[in-house]
């Protein structure tokens, strides 16, 4: 869906009117794949989320039922995590946008005259992908741990209190999310800004618009497809992320997000229905939020 933003914004070619049998035949493997690996697990997840504990059963034994009470239970138990997930994801998206927009503008607009610099900077944006994001996040944990050079120096300079931590705080989690998703924000913004026709900006300036007004009234609306694609590509995975907020990485006991709760319920507590119900809630909430967002930003074509 959001990937349509990577394609050119030119008029969509008309769909052929006749659907031939060959087309259906060619679609068949894809459809089968989706049914097998997307639809079936989804239905299975939905059914699991409604399961009830097996009577006289062991821990982790459940039977199929219509136990919608599961949803109420997880909502009551985990509403702070749900809110925290979306709060962190929103903050990370805002920070990533604030960081990526100038970067993408520089690469896509200012660096146009130097194609070599442009490609070099793009490679640098993508370079982190060459190493697993788990390793990179662990590296950040090392860099920002209490005994690290950075933190001890800051403490020595009294910029941080003697008891202050960085890892395990909400700030660290949001930092990690922002860091990990910056390329996902930068690339769609770059594709949108790279196509920005500077003559529109000149026309705006010719029509008495202050440079700031030109940016607000012309540059931003024209790069909207990139902004929407980038924020979606950041917000959706960030809301479900369970690595950055995990205690093994940058998080602490007070920074658990929905992903961590689902993981704990599924792997530790063996409460499969609760984990499934949380997953369904996460999916539904993201779907609704994204729907509203896309509708409001007037870029329905992207979905």
């Amino acid at each position: 869906m959001a990937f349509a933003a990577f394609a050119t914004a030119e008029a969509q070619p008309q769909a052929p009117r006749k659907t031939s049998r060959i087309a259906l035949l060619l679609l068949l493997p894809g459809i089968l794949y989706l049914v097998l690996f997307f639809l079936t697990p989804l239905i299975s997840l939905l059914l699991t989320s409604l399961q009830a504990p097996l009577e006289f059963g062991d821990i982790g034994q459940y039977q199929y039922a219509f136990n919608w009470q599961n949803y109420v239970d997880v909502m009551t138990a985990y509403w702070p995590h749900i809110l925290r997930s979306f709060g962190y994801a929103l903050a990370a998206t805002v920070f990533a946008l604030a960081f990526s927009y100038p970067l993408a503008y520089f690469i896509g607009v200012k660096a146009r005259r130097w194609p070599l610099l442009q490609s070099l900077m793009l490679v640098l944006v993508i370079a982190p992908f060459f190493i697993s994001f788990l390793l990179r996040t662990l590296a950040w944990k090392q860099i920002l741990s209490d005994e690290s050079f950075v933190i001890t120096s800051l403490k020595a300079l009294s910029l941080l209190g003697p008891d202050a931590h960085f890892t395990g705080t909400p700030f660290a989690v949001i930092f990690g999310l922002t860091y990990n998703f910056i390329p996902f924000m930068t690339l769609p913004l770059y594709t949108a800004l790279e196509r920005l026709d500077l003559r529109y900006l000149e026309a705006g300036s010719d029509l008495y618009a202050h440079p700031f007004t030109v940016f607000r009234k012309i540059t931003i609306p024209l790069s909207m497809p990139g902004i929407v694609a980038g924020t979606l590509l950041t917000f959706i995975p960030a809301a479900g992320d369970y690595v950055n907020a995990s205690r093994d990485f940058l998080g602490g006991p007070d920074t658990q997000m929905m992903g961590n709760v689902i993981e704990a319920n599924f792997l530790v507590l063996l409460n499969y229905p609760a984990a499934a119900a949380l997953s369904i809630i996460l999916m539904a909430a993201i779907l609704v939020l994204v729907g509203i967002y896309v509708k409001r930003s007037g870029t329905e074509d992207l979905l």
Binding site: A203, G204, S205, D206, L207, H210, I218
Partner: protein, 399 residues
Amino acid sequence: MAVREFAERGADLELVGIQKRFPGFTAIQDLDLKIPAGSFFALLGPSGCGKTTTLRLVAGLEEPTQGRILIGGKDVTATRSHERPVNTVFQSYALFPHMSIIENVAFGLKRRRIGDPLVKAHEALKLVELDHLAQRRPQQLSGGQQQRVALARAIVNRPALLLLDEPLGALDLKLRRQMQLELKTIQEEVGLTFLHVTHDQEEAMTMADTVAVMNKGAIEQMGAPEELYDLPKTAFVANFLGQSNLFAGEVAGATDTAITVDVGTARLIVPKARAHRHNGAVTVGVRPEKVSLHTERPVDSAERNVVGPGRVLDVSFSGVSTQYMVDVPGHGTILVFAQNTGSGPSVGVGDEVYTSWLVEHGFGLDDGAVEAQRFAPDDSTTSIAAQRRDDLVAELEEG
């Protein structure tokens, strides 16, 4: 600060010693220009001659390397584009694709916080007969319609100076005439100063009060269209503004009123008043429509220059006139446009003919002897332009 009111009247524009260098080349070298308020001024030249750069300098979209720009007597060289009382009709139209037509037209008014922007924008759209499309997006309009919107978006602001960058290029002939008329009317009504950049000599000549022919970053000649056409100063002007037959030679003699130029096989007389140089190596010329064809050698007289005999290479009929290409040994090709009035000799390809013209129709260039072609060999565009001009002349005479 941006201008908050409409300009009362046009402002005069003055360029003083303007120079613009880009890395690797000089776009404009030492340009001085004064355009009086309320005039319709055309900068005419081939692509790459620096005319669009001049326009962008005036609009504030480029900064001059040297020199000053004054609008209405005020130095605006350091003023930024959005603070200049200038609007541009861009060659690419540059209509904002994310706004409707009416929003596009009202954009400048809103920026200047002028009252009733939408009412005024609708009025401007009515002027270009596009009010019924006000709610559409630019992409939904044809090229010609977009151009008219671009025009409306600029004139709605009533700028002291309106810059037009090839604004009528995409219009068909009928609409083009209509828009030319419209532009003239607006210009006369409001007294705006128009600076029109074009490579279309016919458009420049029909619309502008003053035409400046630009070549390689400098103005070759400036004046009223008739003046430029009648008495071109350089070979470039002689061939860019219409077509010319040019002859290079040495001045062989002079009287009080005329010079005689020896061009090899003939001696051509040019009035002194119409020649820029009176001695040494010179180039003289005559417009093709001033040349007449004869099947027999005309009687030599002090009033006529005669060149010939030559052979007709090509005859092309274009309605009101017929073009003859005559190959004269020692001269090359001479171009003759004859009005199809029914008089005059009827000649065909291969016939032997003489060409002649009245002495008072010749002109002498300032260039010296140039190895210039006698007329632009690029027949495809120049002859079309010439034909279009003839058509328009005929059209005007009928109307």
